[in-house]
C-alpha cells in the first residue's frame, strides 16, 4: 500500500480509479480522463495535489540561502505573496527539481516541490542549508487542492465567505495570500485561470466536498498530464531530470544570470553550457492520425532527438508533444511512429492557453 492523502476516502466515494504514483495512491480518473480535461478547459475542475511537498524556509539568511539554492533570483520578489517558478540545480547544472517559491518576507518563504522527488529534495535543501542561518520545515500537516478552469473564481465565491472571497477577488496571476486557515494562490498546472489552495489536512475534505457540491468536477492525474502538456509545462522526470540543464528544457527564462555577481548552485556549469551550445526543448504538432508518445525518436535537420512527453490533445483533437532536439532544428521533423515515419510541425512548446489553441 502506498501513502494516502487526506482525500483518499473522498476519491473512492467519487469512484476514482486509483493508481500508484511514486508511492502515493492517487486518482488516475473518475471515469473519463477526456471529460475531466474538458471540464477544466470549459468550466472548472479540482485536483488533489496533497502529495506535493510544501517546505517553509525561515530565518535571518533565508533570502541569501534561496539566492544560492535556486536558479531564479528570489531577490526579484518584492510583493508579499508573489510566486516565482524556479529550479534547484546540482553542481553540473542538472535539474534536481522544478518548483514554485512564494515570498512572504526576506526571512520567510514557502517552496512547493514535486512529490516524486520529495526525499532527495529535502536531503539537498537540508545539505545546502547547513551553511546558512535558516530553518527548513516540511509542512506535512497541510494538504492541497488545485481548482482550475474559467469558472474557478465563481466556484470559489460559492465555497468561501464573502469576506474571504473579497481577499482574493481579482487577485493577479502568480500571487498567494493567507485567508484565515487557507493559503490561496493564483497558480496552477493547466494553462487555465485558477487557484492552488493549501489547507490544514483536517479541513481539506470539507473544502473538497463543498467544491463538488458547487459543481466542480473531480479530476485525476490523467487529465492533469494532458492539460499541462497542452499548456507546454514540463513534468519532472520526463521532460527534465538531473542529467538535463534548464537550458535544454525550455526553462532558460527561469534562470537569472543577472546580477552577474550572484553565485548560485550550477551557475558555472550553465555558463559553460551556454557558451558551448546545447539541445533545446520544442513542441511538435501532428495532425495525422496517431499519437506521439514519450520515447519516440525524432529526426530533425542536423541530427536526432527524442520525445519527452507526448499525448493526444483533447482540446485540439490531434496529437502534440514536447521533444528535445539539436538546436539546428527547422520547421518540421520526422517522427518514427509504430509502422511509419510521419512529418510533424515544430513549434514553441505550448499549444493551448485559456481554452484556446495558440498554434
Amino acid at each position: 500500500m502506498g501513502s494516502k492523502t487526506p482525500l483518499y476516502d473522498a476519491h473512492l466515494r467519487a469512484e476514482a480509479k486509483m493508481v500508484d504514483f511514486h508511492g502515493w495512491d492517487m486518482p488516475l480518473n473518475y471515469g473519463s480522463q477526456i471529460e475531466e480535461h474538458k471540464a477544466v478547459r470549459e468550466h472548472c475542475g479540482v485536483f488533489d495535489v496533497s502529495h506535493m511537498t510544501i517546505v517553509d524556509v525561515e530565518g535571518a539568511e533565508a533570502q541569501n540561502f534561496l539566492r544560492y539554492l535556486l536558479a531564479n533570483d528570489v531577490a526579484k520578489l518584492k510583493t508579499p505573496g508573489k510566486a516565482q517558478y524556479t529550479s534547484m540545480l546540482n553542481e553540473n547544472g542538472g535539474v534536481i527539481d522544478d518548483l514554485i517559491v512564494y515570498f512572504f518576507s526576506e526571512t520567510a518563504y514557502r517552496l512547493v516541490v514535486n512529490s516524486a522527488t520529495r526525499d532527495k529534495d529535502l536531503g539537498w535543501i537540508e545539505k545546502v542549508a547547513a551553511d546558512f542561518d535558516v530553518s527548513v520545515k516540511e509542512r506535512d500537516d497541510m494538504a492541497m487542492v488545485a481548482v482550475q478552469g474559467p469558472e474557478a473564481a465563481e466556484k470559489m465565491q460559492q465555497v468561501l465567505s464573502a469576506e474571504q472571497f473579497a481577499e482574493i477577488d481579482g487577485m493577479k496571476p502568480f500571487l498567494g495570500k493567507n485567508v484565515d486557515d487557507y493559503f490561496i494562490a493564483t497558480t496552477g498546472y493547466t494553462g487555465e485561470k485558477g487557484y492552488e489552495i493549501v489547507v490544514p489536512a483536517g479541513q481539506i475534505e470539507t473544502l473538497w466536498n463543498q467544491l463538488l457540491e458547487a459543481g466542480v468536477a473531480p479530476c485525476g492525474l490523467g487529465a492533469r498530464d494532458t492539460l499541462r502538456l497542452e499548456a507546454g509545462m514540463n513534468l519532472y522526470g520526463q521532460d527534465m531530470d538531473e542529467e538535463i540543464t534548464p537550458l535544454e528544457a525550455n526553462m532558460g527564462w527561469s534562470v537569472a544570470f543577472d546580477p552577474a555577481e550572484r553565485d548560485f548552485m550550477g551557475r558555472k556549469a550553465l555558463e559553460q553550457k551556454k557558451a558551448e551550445g546545447h539541445d533545446k526543448l520544442v513542441g511538435l504538432v501532428m495532425k495525422d492520425k496517431g499519437v506521439l508518445r514519450h520515447g519516440q525518436k525524432v529526426l530533425v535537420e542536423g541530427g536526432e532527438g527524442i520525445i519527452t512527453s507526448g499525448s493526444f490533445s483533447p482540446t485540439l483533437g490531434f496529437s502534440v508533444a514536447m521533444a528535445r532536439v539539436p538546436a539546428s532544428v527547422g520547421d518540421t521533423a520526422e517522427v518514427e511512429l509504430r509502422k511509419k515515419n510521419v512529418t510533424v510541425q515544430v513549434v514553441k512548446p505550448g499549444f493551448v492557453r485559456n481554452g484556446q489553441s495558440v498554434l
Binding site: 480522463q33 477526456i34 492520425k289 496517431g290
Partner: protein, 129 residues
C-alpha cells in the same frame, strides 16, 4: 467487476467474438480491455476485403494512455468495419459489446470458434492478471 456476456467467445488478448449465424463473426474488445486502455482517441481498422489469419495484428486501438494491437481471432476475410468509430472512438468505451464493435470476419472455418475462451474461462484469465 467488468461485464463479460456469456453468449460471446473471447481471445486471451481481450477481443470478443459474436457468431452471427451466417458464417460471419463480429469482433470487438472486452469491457475489461477498454477499462485498461482508458479513453479511446483513434481506432485504426482493417479494410473490407482484407484476408486475415488468426493472430495477425489487424487493428489498433489508441487511447490517451497507449496504443494497443488488436488481433484477428479467426482466419478469413474482413467483410465489414465499424466506420462510425472514425468520428466517435469513445463508443468503444461506452458500449464495447454493442455499437463499439470493430470489424466482422467471414471465417474460413467456423470451427475455429471452439478454440476461443468461453466467458468463465476468460474471466478467470483476467482475474490472474
Amino acid at each position: 467487476m467488468s461485464n463479460i456476456p456469456a453468449d460471446l467467445k473471447y481471445a486471451s488478448t481481450h477481443e470478443w467474438v459474436r457468431d452471427e449465424g451466417d458464417g460471419t463473426f463480429t469482433v470487438g474488445i472486452s469491457e475489461h480491455a477498454q477499462e485498461l486502455l482508458g479513453d479511446m482517441v483513434f481506432v485504426e481498422l482493417p479494410d473490407v476485403g482484407d484476408k486475415v489469419a488468426t493472430g495477425d495484428d489487424i487493428a489498433v486501438a489508441e487511447s490517451v494512455k497507449a496504443a494497443s494491437d488488436i488481433y484477428a481471432p479467426m482466419t478469413g476475410e474482413v467483410v465489414a468495419v465499424n466506420e462510425d468509430l472514425e468520428d466517435a472512438p469513445e463508443t468503444v468505451n461506452n458500449d464495447p459489446y454493442g455499437d463499439g464493435w470493430l470489424f466482422r470476419i467471414k471465417a474460413e472455418d467456423s470451427g475455429e470458434l471452439d478454440n476461443l475462451l468461453d466467458a468463465n474461462t476468460y474471466e478467470a484469465s483476467i482475474d490472474e492478471d
